[in-house]
């Protein structure tokens, strides 16, 4: 009975493991094969590295190296926005947690409301707003809205409100530190875990955002990789037979598309693998045993 239970349990866990991982494995193997071999050979067979090189050659040649530009754009948007987010939201969380100025509750509630609201709901009004400011089509129309990250403020607020003893900060003040010095020398170094957490959430959500740049940008040279991938998909005859000339003119087929998808997630995958533990510890707080 016990052995049976264990068997059922393992079977369920393994089935889900296959569901979660098989597509990833397929994606890793796809660029090693030709478009034809993808159909004829076994889905999980390995081709050779020459095909990866060939797929990259085709992908890189697409529309005058635009793929490189998409990756560089995304890095630029996500890193600048995350840098602003960190500089703005960690001090804000600190001020909200330890301050007692009038309007503190109001700022806190507004932050919570906007945080729970899905980002996509505000994209259209933000477009109109930035349109009035003549910012549409500039990289600021992406970076500034990305840089507003209420979840980061909330995380920093929670951390300072619960994990940092007020006495410690008061001691620093008694020792003659000014408000700014107290923050920079005592409060900020203590907040390393929360800085890492805000970086993770902000970077990943900026990297994966599709709707906002889709609305704001018209020039494909400015696209981030998410919108770029959708653009690439529209140019391949594999899923779009209406593309002229059987796609020979663009040379984007399934292996190229798979490679493009794979390279597009490398930075996020790195951040993801590094962050699993910190994520749990930060969110659930303490008590995590491995």
């Amino acid at each position: 009975m016990r052995a049976l239970g264990l068997g059922v349990r393992t079977a369920i866990l393994l089935t889900f493991a296959v569901f979660f991982i098989a597509p990833v494995v397929w994606l890793l193997l796809a660029p090693t094969k030709s478009d034809e071999a993808l159909i004829t050979s076994s889905p999980f067979s390995f081709g050779d590295f020459d095909h990866v090189a060939l797929a990259w050659k085709h992908l890189d040649a697409f529309s005058d190296h635009v793929y490189r530009r998409w990756i560089t754009n995304t890095l630029y948007y996500a890193l600048s926005a995350t840098a602003i987010t960190l500089v703005v939201s960690v001090p804000a969380g600190y001020g909200l947690a330890l301050g007692n100025f009038p309007g503190r509750k109001l700022v806190l509630s507004a932050t919570l409301v906007v945080m729970i609201m899905p980002a996509a709901a505000l994209v259209l009004p933000i477009f109109l707003e930035l349109n009035a400011l003549h910012l549409i089509g500039s990289s600021l129309s992406i970076i500034l809205p990305f840089a507003f990250f209420p979840f980061g403020v909330y995380l920093a607020y929670l951390y300072y409100a619960t994990a940092i003893p007020r006495d410690l900060l008061d001691a620093a003040r008694v020792d003659g530190c000014g408000e700014l010095q107290t923050f920079l020398r005592v409060a900020l170094p203590l907040a390393k875990p929360v800085v890492a957490l805000v970086f993770f959430f902000s970077f990943v959500s900026d990297w994966n955002n599709f709707f906002l740049p889709y609305v704001m940008l018209a020039d494909s040279n400015q696209y981030p990789i998410t919108v770029g991938l959708s653009n690439l998909l529209s140019s391949t005859p594999s899923f779009n037979p209406s593309v002229g000339g059987g796609g020979q003119s663009v040379n984007i087929f399934k292996p190229e598309l798979a490679l493009a998808t794979l390279l597009a997630v490398v930075p996020v995958a790195i951040v993801f693998v590094l962050s699993q533990r910190a994520l749990v510890r930060g969110l659930v707080g303490g008590g995590v045993k491995e």
């Binding site: 979660f20 993808l38 403020v153 923050f183 599709f210 779009n240 659930v284 995590v288």
Partner: protein, 293 residues
């Protein structure tokens, strides 16, 4: 209250918050107020009451789009609630090496959120290249890509994509939450003769209720905003999938193709209201803010 500190403690903390305020106002509060204002006015700015709401409601594309989003969100939330909780419970109290490997495997697809996940699943749904072509044939009855993405399948397929990318992160969080349960409690239950299933359902489950509610609220609100998945699939659908498949897509089309920002805002407000009602229902049903938590 230390009211005698130098430099007026009434303002303590404010300088740290100041740089954040322009962002909060410009990209949080103003767009929210603006959306509300647009939803109740016409293109000239005149008050029109609920006119935009009735007009978009009567649009022939409105009900199908809402229905799609509703089915998608229901299926996705159901899958999250059942499988995330079940898998976290199954993983908890297992040899920790195996458990952490499983958690990592489940969590990994999260790196492919959004557009990348859609592309991966387009391949998985294409019977000519998919490793699961037998499933496509037997479950969906599909031998061609166009049959896989038949309109009736789409809400379920999108729910599956969302589950694939998001479930692992929540499993990791639930597992972490389960670890905060004191071991003595489990010990006591075992001494009282409870078996593993009883401990999971009667002891562990109620203790992570707060996290389940949290997951459902966030997912419900995000689910109603579905945009990227149908938008990308529409590009690859041979014209089978309309560009107004989801409610958010309809809002996008109204705004950018028909320059009807008021109608678009009305739909955005509809979605927010639905998200809010959903959150309230979930809070009431799960007792998220019950005093004894």
């Amino acid at each position: 209250m230390g009211a005698t500190r130098k430099r007026g403690p009434q303002l303590r903390g404010l300088p740290f918050v100041l740089p954040y305020l322009p962002f909060l106002i410009l990209f949080g509060i103003a767009p929210m107020v603006y959306a509300l204002d647009l939803a109740f006015t016409d293109a000239g700015g005149g008050w029109v009451g609920v006119d935009n709401f009735t007009r978009t409601y009567n649009d022939f594309r409105f009900m199908p789009a809402m229905k799609h989003v509703l089915i998608y969100t229901t299926v996705w939330l159901g899958a999250l609630m059942v499988f995330v909780v079940a898998l976290a419970l199954l993983l908890h109290g297992r040899a920790s090496r195996a458990s952490s490997t499983f958690r990592f495997l489940y969590y990994l697809p999260g790196a492919l959120a959004g557009a990348a996940a859609v592309l991966v699943w387009l391949f998985m749904l294409d019977p000519t290249v998919s490793p699961a072509s037998f499933l496509l044939h037997h479950v969906l009855g599909a031998d061609f890509f166009a049959q896989s993405i038949a309109p009736g399948n789409l809400p379920y397929l999108f729910a599956m994509m969302a589950f694939w990318t998001g479930a692992g992160g929540w499993i990791v969080v639930m597992y972490g939450a389960l670890n905060t349960i004191p071991p003595d409690l489990e010990q006591a239950a075992r001494i009282d003769g409870a078996n593993a299933i009883q401990i999971a359902l009667r002891l562990k489950l109620p203790l992570i209720r707060k996290w389940i509610a949290y997951m459902l609220i966030l997912s419900f609100a995000t689910g109603t905003q579905l945009f990227v998945e149908p938008e990308i699939v529409q590009h690859a659908s041979f014209g089978l999938v309309p560009d107004t498949w989801s409610a958010n897509q309809l809002a996008y089309q109204l705004a950018f193709r028909f320059a009807d920002f008021n109608g678009a805002a009305a739909i955005a407000v509809d979605l927010l209201a639905i998200g809010l009602i959903g959150a309230v229902v979930i809070v009431m049903r799960t007792g998220l803010f019950r005093a004894d938590d």
